[in-house]
């Protein structure tokens, strides 16, 4: 009686653990790797399904040492056990392939703090001022129609294109300081060229 009490007490004192959310997310993500699993799933679909003839079960049954009490339970559970075994096989195959897929791909999770200093939103571009050049040249093309201005304009256009190209490659959550440094350098160069063009107008 004391043993039973002690056992109950010990069971009550056992700590309860809940799996962290990230574990479920990870499992969910790995299950969602449809692309990588397509060949496997296709192959699984193509596997032939065979039903064992009744004689096989009867043969097995006759070889089993059976007791009166167990026989009906086993018989009732047989379809369930068969499904469970099949599922285990499929799950085993699935996770076997997941852990070591064709390319040996492994997934990992971590966190990092975003560095606000290297975000593109923090850079101020003088696009409005730059657009002024186009307006002036459109209104008074004679001002812009000389070799020195054309050369500067060509340089300015090239820098604008590079600025656009690089800006579109930098993500909203940039982690590459070198890209921001390059963008800043382009920005400074085109500002310099812009000043030279303005001086000619």
């Amino acid at each position: 009686m004391d043993n039973e009490k002690n056992l109950k007490k010990a069971l009550k004192n056992l700590p309860a653990h809940q799996a962290p959310e990230s574990i479920w997310e990870k499992i969910n993500f790995e299950l969602e790797q449809d692309e990588a699993d397509k060949p496997l799933q296709e192959a699984l679909k193509k596997l032939p399904v065979h039903k064992a003839p009744e004689s096989v079960w009867k043969g097995l049954e006759s070889q089993l040492p059976e007791s009166e009490s167990q026989q009906p339970i086993i018989r009732r559970l047989r379809p369930v056990l068969a499904i469970a075994a099949s599922l285990l096989l499929v799950v085993g195959f699935y996770f076997g392939f997941r852990q070591n897929p064709v390319e040996g791909t492994e997934f990992a999770y971590s966190e990092e703090v975003l560095d606000d200093r290297i975000q593109i939103n923090n850079l101020e571009a003088d696009d409005e001022a730059f657009a002024m050049i186009e307006e002036i040249c459109a209104a008074r093309d004679y001002l812009c129609n000389n070799d020195i201005f054309k050369s500067l304009k060509s340089e300015f256009d090239e820098l604008n294109m590079a600025h656009e190209e690089l800006s579109s490659a930098i993500s909203e959550f940039n982690t590459n300081a070198q890209l921001i440094s390059e963008l800043t350098s382009i920005e400074m160069e085109r500002t310099e060229v812009f000043k030279q063009m303005i001086a000619l107008l």
């Binding site: 492994e106 997934f107 490659a169 993500s171 959550f173 940039n174 070198q178 382009i186």
Partner: protein, 296 residues
């Protein structure tokens, strides 16, 4: 009073901690090994990639790639990582390794790649990289790099080297061979040079630290400044031409100016003995500076 003060400090700390954005980083990685066959070139095509190539004394090419997706929302990072992939192709003349983003729209996550490639010392390497960083070390075979918006670092390379860079600085140390560099809006720094160099540059700063192991240096540049550092500047032969720029020389280099006016300066110097190494620099809208620097 002290308690109140500490509480306020704590609140400030909490507020600043909350202001930070935490990125959920999801990555996938793989390793791949190839047996290198003579005649094959390792071709690496990276995008937003940090590529590092090193050599080893084994006949295999070993590649490790990690692709990262970073976003405050983990599910966004996970989904976009599905479209951010790598491929390997092996053919008789090349081993191709590349990463690409196949998403239909621009990714919301920060997608980056890291390559670590080990090749046999005599394995030619060809690389292209956009918005990334390229490092190559200890190679005794041909090297070709085409990079945009990212730096190229080379150390201890022997062979034919071809570098094309746009908006990305080039740094090379202990290079030996036939080296061709085309740079556009890129600074070029070269140290400990042997062999022959052809450098074409537009907009940028070129700094060459040379000694008498250099055989030939040809630089043609536009809107660029060229600095030549040499512990024994008088032991080299020079032909220096600057259109609309200045030529500055160390005191001991008694150079002969063929032309010296505001629009063109043309200076020639032939040392007493053999004319090796030879330095030829021709620039438009830029300065040429030769300086004596201490022996390394």
């Amino acid at each position: 009073m002290i308690k109140q003060f500490l509480f306020i400090v704590f609140l400030f700390g909490l507020a600043s901690a909350n202001a930070q954005t935490t990125l959920q980083v999801v990555s996938k990685s793989t390793n791949k090994e190839f047996t290198f066959q003579k005649g094959q070139t390792v071709v690496v095509e990276g995008e937003k990639a940090e590529i590092k190539v090193e050599t080893w004394d084994q006949p295999q090419v070993v590649v490790s790639i990690i692709l990262f997706a970073k976003n405050p929302d983990r599910s966004v990072a996970e989904n976009e990582l599905k479209s951010f992939n790598f491929t390997f192709e092996e053919e008789s003349d090349r081993i191709l390794i590349r990463n690409y983003y196949a998403g239909s729209a621009k990714a919301k996550s920060e997608l980056t790649a890291q390559y670590f490639v080990k090749v046999p010392t005599d394995c030619p390497v060809q690389m292209s990289n956009y918005f990334g960083k390229t490092d190559v070390e200890n190679l005794s075979a041909n090297l070709d790099v085409n990079s945009q918006f990212g730096p190229i670092n080379m150390y201890n390379i022997e062979g034919d080297i071809g570098i094309v860079s746009r908006f990305g600085d080039i740094f090379g140390e202990l290079l030996n061979g036939n080296v061709k560099i085309e740079s556009h809006r890129s600074n070029v720094t070269l140290k400990g040079l042997q062999g022959k160099y052809d450098i074409k540059s537009k907009y940028g700063l070129i700094k060459v630290f040379a000694d008498n192991r250099l055989i030939d240096l040809n630089i043609e540049a536009e809107k660029a400044d060229v600095y030549l550092f040499n512990p024994e500047p008088t032991e080299s032969g020079y032909e220096l031409i600057s259109h609309f720029g200045e030529i500055t020389l160390p005191e001991e280099l008694k150079i002969n100016f063929v032309e010296n006016n505001d629009t063109k300066r043309h200076a020639v110097y032939t040392p007493g003995q053999q004319q090796i190494p030879g330095v030829y620099v021709k620039i438009t809208y830029g300065d040429i500076v030769v300086r004596k620097n201490p022996k390394p």
